[in-house]
Structures are given as C-alpha cells and as structure tokens.
C-alpha cells in the first residue's frame, strides 16, 4: 500500500493541492451534481494519464499521442454502450490498446524525441480520422452519448461511478504489471537503458509493451470521458488533450497513481477557483488558462524531484 502514497517529502505539496481542490470546488459550489461531474471528469483524465506515467516512468519515453487512445475508447464506448455496457467497456479498452499498439510501431526503431514526435503524429491522425469516418463518429458534428439507464443512480452519480470503475481498473493493471517480471524489466529500462540492454532485455519490445498498456489505460479513460461529457467530437481529442494529459502525468509525479489522481483533481478544480477569483480581476480574457499556467509553473519549480 505504501507504494500508493507519496513519500513524506512531497506530501506537503500534495496536501496543498488537495486544499486548492477543496477550496476551489466548495467555493464555486455548483451543487452536488455538478461536483459529481467534475470528479468524474478528473477520474477519466487520471485514468488516461496513468498510461502516460507508465510510458515515461517505466519505459523512459514520452508519449504525445494519448488523445488518440482516448478517442478510440470514447467512440467505441459511444457506439456500443446502448447495446451492452460490459461489452462496450471491454471493446473500448481493446480499441485503446489497438491505438497504443499503433503508436508502439515506431518504437521498434525510435526512442526519445523522435518517438515522442511520432506519437504526436498519431494524435493528429486520430483527429482527422474521427472527422472523416462520419458513419462511426458523426464527423465534425460530433456524437451524442446516451446517459446510462441505471435506475438506482442519477446521471451524474452513474458517470462518477463508471469513471471510478475505469480508474480502479487502470490502477489495478499498473499494480499487477509492476509486481510482475515485466515491471522489474521496465524499471531497469527506465533507470539504466544501456545496462538493461547489456542484461539482454528486449529494450524495443519493452518500450512497445509500455505503449500498448498505456493505450489500454487511454481506452478506459476515453470511455469514462465520453460517458461523463455526454457528447464527443473530433476536436476534443486533438493535441491540446494529449498535452493536458502529459501535464497531469508530469505534475502527478509520473510514478505514483495517487499523485496523478491528485494532479487531475487539481486540473479540474483550478478553473473553478479561478472563476471564484474572477470578480477581483474583472473582465480579463484568458484568466482561467493564466491561473492554470501559473499553477503548473509554480508546482514544477517548487516540487522536489
């Protein structure tokens, strides 16, 4: 369990983030349902960001295309959820895995910045594909995701429950992989790639596997995202989303699920807090992104690596 808690050095910072969240969310007090929507969105983003943590923290690579895996999961979920929820979830995870496998292809030959750029291209291609495959995605007009018909829950609680489930599955996956031989091999790769190569580890294969597992997380995150927002369109899965996920993974500490969950919570809470502060600054265009950007810079500079 201690693996899931941050080390004491960083605990202060994370508690501060939690405080930001509590103040931000309670302050804007959009009501219980709105709060549930925010939490669900945070869980969905965290699920996808966990995959990036795997790629970076374990395989030592940077993925700029996680939005593609999310898109695959989101559209698959939207298409199949009306028929069967379990089937849709499995299919969304599979679709994300496929997207991850596609991003893994260049990893056979590339690593470092070239590989990051290749994965970025995947995100761009995914957005274009989503625009063109009108029959499946609804094209630029987007696609409506039907709210779940679970009589026991209202819409917002159902979305939150589902997003939490997806997050739980992703955390479980990471935990299992970490304990397996694969996890140890990845750690070796992340810490000393040359040594790992000298030990006879299949470095390229390990990198590809990390991308594939990240794709699975992305697929789950995409399904949760689609269910939470209730509407998906191609431009939602473009480069900005991939970068947002990378920022969440980076701020979360790249290795620990708890850190990433906190970072994604801060990511949805900060705009709320910024909204609360808006009366102090008056009509300032771009105020919310400004607060978010400053927070990112602040955390990056002051956290102990």
């Amino acid at each position: 369990m201690s693996r899931f808690l941050p080390p004491p050095r960083r605990r202060g910072l994370l508690l501060a983030a939690l405080l930001v969240l509590a103040v931000g969310t309670l302050g804007s007090s959009g009501g219980a349902r709105y709060f549930a929507h925010l939490l669900a969105l945070a869980a969905a983003m965290a699920t996808a960001a966990l995959g990036l943590a795997l790629v970076h923290g374990r395989a030592g690579q940077v993925c700029l295309g996680q939005g593609a895996a999310m898109a695959a999961g989101a559209y698959t979920w939207a298409a199949l959820a009306p028929r069967s929820l379990p089937l849709a979830l499995v299919a969304a995870a599979a679709a994300g895995t496929l997207a991850g496998a596609a991003m893994a292809l260049p990893a056979r030959r590339l690593s470092g910045l070239p590989l990051a750029l290749a994965s970025m291209a995947c995100a761009v291609i995914a957005e274009v594909l989503a625009m063109r495959a009108v029959a499946f995605t609804g094209g630029t007009a987007g696609r409506f995701v039907a709210p779940p018909s679970l009589s026991a829950f209202d819409e917002a609680s159902a979305a939150l429950a589902f997003a939490t489930l997806c997050l739980g599955l992703a955390v479980l996956l990471l935990y299992r992989l970490d304990r397996a031989t694969l996890g140890r091999a990845w750690r070796a790769l992340a810490q000393a790639p040359e040594a790992a190569l000298a030990l006879g580890l299949d470095v390229g294969g390990l990198r590809r596997l990390a991308f594939v597992a990240a794709g699975l997380c992305g697929g789950l995150g995409g399904a949760a995202y689609a269910q939470t927002l209730g509407f998906i369109s191609p431009e939602q899965f473009g480069l900005p989303l991939s970068f947002e996920l990378l920022v969440i993974a980076f701020l979360g500490g790249l290795r620990r699920p708890a850190g990433i969950v906190l970072a994604s919570l801060a990511f949805v809470a900060l705009p709320e807090l910024a909204d609360r502060l808006r009366p102090l600054v008056g009509e300032l265009g771009g105020w919310n992104p400004l607060v978010l950007g400053l927070a990112v810079v602040f955390v990056t500079v002051f956290r102990k690596m």
Binding site: S28, G30, R33, T140, G142, F231, P271, G285, W287, N288
Partner: protein, 389 residues
C-alpha cells in the same frame, strides 16, 4: 371588535400577494479568451446593455434580467461543464447567443433535455432550428438558404451575366455556400460554369484564379473567410482580371475593406442579418445607440455588439408578452412574435409553432463602395426546396 379588526388586518396582510422581484438568469456560452474572443466580448456587451436597459426602465414588471456569460475558450469540453454549471448552480432558464458550432453542437442536446430555451446561437448549423423542438429558435439563416436569393439579386442587377462560377473553401462551410449558389442558379435557369476549391488556411490563389479566368467567368461567388476573400480579390486585381465577385456573410466585415483597399471595391456581400453600424452616415437613433454603447464600455460598438443587442431585444419582447416567465411560456410567446425590424437593418423576424427559423433571406444585399459596405436592397425569400438536402 378590536381583535376582529386586528385579525382581519393580519389576514389581509398574509393574503396580499407580495410582488417579489423575480430574477431571471440567462446564460451565454461565449468565447472570451480563445480564437473567437473578438466576437464573444462585443456579443456579451450588446446583450448585457439591452438587459440593463430593460431593468432600468422597468420594462418587465416584477422581473429582473441577469446575464451570466461563461467563457468556453471555443472548447466543447469546457462548454459542457459551463452549461451544466449555469443550469445547476445558477438556474439559467435560457441560453442566448451561444457562440461557435463546436460549442453549440456539444451543449444543445443537454440544454434541451434539461428543458431550457436555446435561442439564436452563432452557428449556421441546421441543427439549431431543425428538426423542430419547442425550445430551440434561430434567427441566422444558413448559407444554403440565403445564398440563393443573394445570387439571384446580383444576377437581376447584371442581366448580361451568363457565366457564373464558385470558389469555396474545401469543407462543409464551402459546400453549403456552393449549394446555395447552385439553388439560386437553378431558379434563374443558368448553369454553374466552373467550381474551384481551396484548402483551409490557403494563402495563394493564383492557380484557382487562372482556372476561373480560363473559363471566362463573369460572376464568381466566394465561400471564403475575410482573409481569403481579400487575397483572392487582390490576386485577380494583380492579374488584371475584373469579373463580378460575391461573398457570403462570412466576409461581411469592416476588415474586408480595411485590408482589401481598392482591390475589393465593387465586391457584393450579404448582411445576414444586421448592417455594420458605421458611425458615418448613421441615423440619429443609431448614433445615440453607438454613443450609449461607447459610454458604457469605453469602446466602439461593432456588428457583433448589435447582434447581441438584437438577440436580447427579441428575448425581452418574448418575456414581456409571455403568460409566465417559464421556458415553455416564453417559447410560446416567441412563436407569436412578429419583429418588424430595427435601426440595425434587421429583417422581419417571425416564428410560428411549425417554424423556428426567424428569417431565411439573409437580410440585405450589400456592396463595397468607396471603402465601406453600402446596403442596396432587401433580399427576398429563398426557394423552400433549397432548405431540403
């Protein structure tokens, strides 16, 4: 006896309906920080100004209007969250002038499902009024609809023109403009001589202009944005080719003549549906409005401020005649509304229980004369079948 009087007085006090001031919250999903912030801010100001006037003059007895604008940054995800917040926290009963097709398409289903009014969004998408829904209304005609009467109006002014061509952006926007032009030509019995397309964001049009010139086009209808329109007319001018040009409302902007200079003289356009409120040559009423706006916001009003103001005007009129201030009653009042036009050159807006698009003509035909858009004539109705795909 004294007790009886006291009790009666008390009873009277209790039963007298206290007319409490009711606050009606109207939400707006606008881009105040993203790529369309140049539109979002004046739209917000225009709406706010009309609401403030209504509140100050007591136009709606017992009702205070409040506008809450949320910044979407043109991002559907943020827009969905903002819409939920406006509905759940602020209890918004209507959404007015939501800005941008991605934002509108993402948020409209939920807004309607939660039974709030969805009024006059800045999106030319057909989904904003069709299929008919009791709570959604639109006043901006789609390209397909207004380009039909527009191209016919130009042809009436130039009966010698026989060869009509199009040059449009290679996407849905361009395709919609092109469809409207084709419908207009069909009704006049002329063929479309040649079609040319350009990629989104293109800056060089020499190839397209050369092809259109080769086809001896006499009128070129453009489905292009401001920058592209200016570049196309400049290129043609430099090549010494002078056909008639017509552009959609997407390039009906004062930037077109500011950037284009002499090269864009004579360019035809369409207002859809409001005139640019120029200070020079303005009527006294318009001048007073422009001054009031400048006093309030410290900047000059533009066509977007006027559009926001007119959208708010329609809502204020509907609330004034509604039996009660609820979304359904206001929607019914809108269906009875007949708006004759105004100092901004709005066309007549009319809705009915079976028609929630307020006008389909696009407003007025205009042309750039001596460095500014001049309104020439009111456009007539497009063919009914134009709207059917």
């Amino acid at each position: 006896m004294r007790i009886l009087v006291l009790v009666t007085a008390l009873l009277a006090l209790v039963t007298t309906p206290v007319r409490a001031e009711r606050v009606l919250t109207v939400g707006a999903l606008l881009d105040l920080s993203g790529p369309a912030a140049l539109l979002g801010v004046p739209v917000k100001n225009g709406m706010e100004m009309r609401f403030a006037e209504a509140n100050a003059r007591g136009e709606l007895p017992g009702i205070t209007l409040k506008l809450l604008a949320e910044d979407t940054g043109y991002d559907p995800k943020r827009a969905i969250l903002a819409a939920r917040k406006l509905i759940e926290r602020d209890g918004a009963i209507a959404f007015l002038s939501n800005l941008g097709t991605p934002v509108v398409l993402a948020t409209m289903p939920e807004i309607l499902r939660r039974e709030r009014l969805h009024l006059f969004p800045f999106s030319p998408h057909e989904a904003t009024y069709a299929p008919l829904h009791p709570l959604k209304f639109q006043i901006y005609a789609p390209y397909r609809s207004y380009m039909d009467p527009t191209v016919r109006a130009v042809l009436r002014r130039h009966p010698q023109v026989r060869r009509v061509c199009t040059l449009v952006q290679d996407d849905e926007f361009g395709e919609e403009v092109s469809a409207g032009v084709r419908a207009g030509l069909e009704r006049t019995g002329l063929p479309l001589t040649r079609e040319a397309r350009h990629a989104r964001g293109a800056t060089d049009f020499t190839g397209q202009i050369a092809r259109l010139r080769e086809a001896s086009c006499e009128l070129v209808a453009l489905g292009t944005l401001v920058r592209e329109t200016v570049a196309i007319l400049r290129t043609a001018d430099e090549m010494g080719w002078k056909p008639l040009f017509l552009t959609s409302a997407s390039a009906y902007s004062d930037q077109t003549h500011t950037l284009g200079g002499a090269a864009v003289e004579g360019l035809y356009g369409v207002t859809n549906p409001i005139r640019i409120p120029y200070r020079e040559g303005a009527s006294p009423e318009l001048l007073a409005w422009l001054d009031a706006y400048r006093d309030r916001y410290g900047m000059e009003a533009n066509v977007w401020s006027a559009m926001g103001y007119v959208a708010a005007e329609l809502l204020v009129r509907a609330i004034a005649t509604a039996t009660e201030p609820t979304p359904v009653a206001i929607a019914q009042a809108l269906e009875r509304l007949d708006y004759p036009g105004d100092l901004f050159g709005s066309p007549r807006y009319r809705f009915s229980p079976t028609e929630h698009l307020g006008q389909r003509t696009g407003g007025e035909l205009t042309r750039i004369e001596q460095g500014r858009w001049v309104s020439l004539e009111r456009l007539d109705e497009p063919a009914r079948e134009t709207l059917k795909k």
